[in-house]
Symmetry: C2
Subunit: 296 residues, 2 copies
């Protein structure tokens, strides 16, 4: 058997981003953490951690981390089975979720499950094209993703879709797109991206133009609320899902820059195929709740 | 003189997180990007980029990136000076800001400046203890930070403070803290952190207890809105600034778990000391607006 005390130290260094922080979390000294990681590397005969700042796991280290996460999940399930409910602790669940889901349907779907399953959530947030990386790296036990096919060792279920449109305020539309959306107006009008990894904007603009978009002046605002506010304030145009723009679009505060053009992003729930009772119940509950919140 | 076409390719690889994305942004082939970076390394006689995924600059690379950013800033200022205003493009400004500022005073202070200075913002968001790293790495030209003293080559100004308190809903308080906040109740009640780098929670709890806190069950929710919602829903307690909790605290929806204990976090604006007219005007405007929004 592996020495799980060593794996725990290694896991903590990676998740906290440093030996010092890991030491604090584990209530041991920094040099004890360092020794445990070194010993683990000797036992495995592999370098598991590159000593960068923050330290990052090697590909071999990632495999070990994923294994550690799976064993932890199964241990927690067993405890819930063995202990009387009054002595049961919380169930830790690390999940990957895209920012637009977290800002719309996800909390409503998850809140009842936090109560019934006594969960402690650790959410990692990224673009819907990126969340499955957390899964591959073993950092999360489940994630919302645009990937349809389950990763190796995982199951996947359909959640529903989000429909994105190219939107701006009336004032902004009149100023920057008086003759509609074309290559010339797009090269001049300020748009807004969530972050550099946000690929929806380019996809949407390519769809509207029917060709490769020009170089566009773009803000980068990695906050859903401020992203929306910038568009509402007439400072930029941008791509928004109906779940966020719906009311403002109906009331006329926002205008669809290219009616008839929209991008449908289908979302899937991926989770470890572990025969973990908790993860199965959580996933079933989440998928059902999502399908009630999102169009399918 | 340096060949800035090479520096631009290097800069783009780092900011977009890959050779392929950099190629797309620059409208050149991936192998052209790769050649430019290699040539730059040969000219400098230094390894500038570690070819990880995503690629990361070496310490030597970071220095070059910072220089590139400063030259870009000065170039933009010059253009604004030389060109008639009708031909002037946008002024790109990369800024580091903490999530709590972005959710409260920052947008109100910045929105008028976006209009008057014709800005395109690139915001990088992190904890207020971490934002100055963006500055050191040359990724941003200004940042909101808890650091008081200016970094080398920078200026700093005082913005005001945010006052943090330990809060929970009445229902939550009655259930988990019937006899007040102590080591035992804190080891059982679920709390919420913004992310793993969030050190305010530990500081606040240490202040209330007067000793090192126990191991605490904690959610990690890296979204200001959902962080607040979890507390409002009675699913966790947490540390909130008055700017976010004020109304709910006054109306009795939230309760102060330890009246009389609060943490005052002073915020400072740091920016490159570049004699850039734009950066000076922006900084003066931001500091003035912040002091109108925040207590000083």
């Amino acid at each position: 058997m592996f020495d799980y005390k060593l794996l725990q130290a290694f896991h903590m260094v990676v998740t906290t981003g440093g030996f010092e922080k890991a030491a604090r979390e584990l209530f041991i000294t920094q040099s004890a953490v360092s020794q445990r990681v070194k010993l683990l590397e000797e036992q495995m005969g592999q370098v598991l951690l590159s000593r960068t700042s923050p330290p990052r796991p090697t590909p071999q280290g990632l495999k070990l981390l994923k294994h550690f996460g799976q064993v932890s999940r199964l241990e927690q399930d067993l405890k819930a089975d063995l202990l009387p409910s009054s002595e049961q602790g919380f169930n830790n669940l690390a999940l990957g979720v895209n920012a637009d889901s977290l800002a719309t349907w996800f909390p409503k779907a998850v809140t009842p499950l936090i109560r019934t399953e006594n969960l402690l959530l650790n959410l990692l947030v990224d673009d819907q094209e990126q969340t499955h990386r957390f899964m591959r790296q073993g950092k999360v036990q489940g994630c919302v993703s645009v990937q349809k096919n389950p990763l190796q060792g995982c199951k996947a279920g359909y959640l529903g879709y989000m429909e994105y449109r190219l939107l701006a305020s009336s004032e902004f539309t009149a100023k920057w797109f008086p003759h509609g959306v074309d290559s010339r107006s797009l090269s001049q009008a300020p748009g807004v991206l969530f972050n550099l990894k946000d690929e929806l904007h380019t996809k949407m603009v390519s769809l509207v133009l029917g060709e490769k978009p020009p170089t566009m002046p773009l803000h980068h605002i990695p906050s859903v609320k401020q992203f929306n506010q910038l568009i509402a304030d007439g400072l930029a145009y941008g791509v928004l899902p109906d779940q966020q723009a719906g009311k403002r679009l109906k009331s006329g505060l926002l205008r669809d820059l290219s009616p008839g053009h929209s991008l449908r992003v289908r979302l899937y729930w991926h989770y470890w195929n572990l025969k973990s009772g908790l993860l199965e119940r959580f996933s079933t509950g989440l998928i059902k709740a999502a399908q009630g919140e999102l169009p399918v």
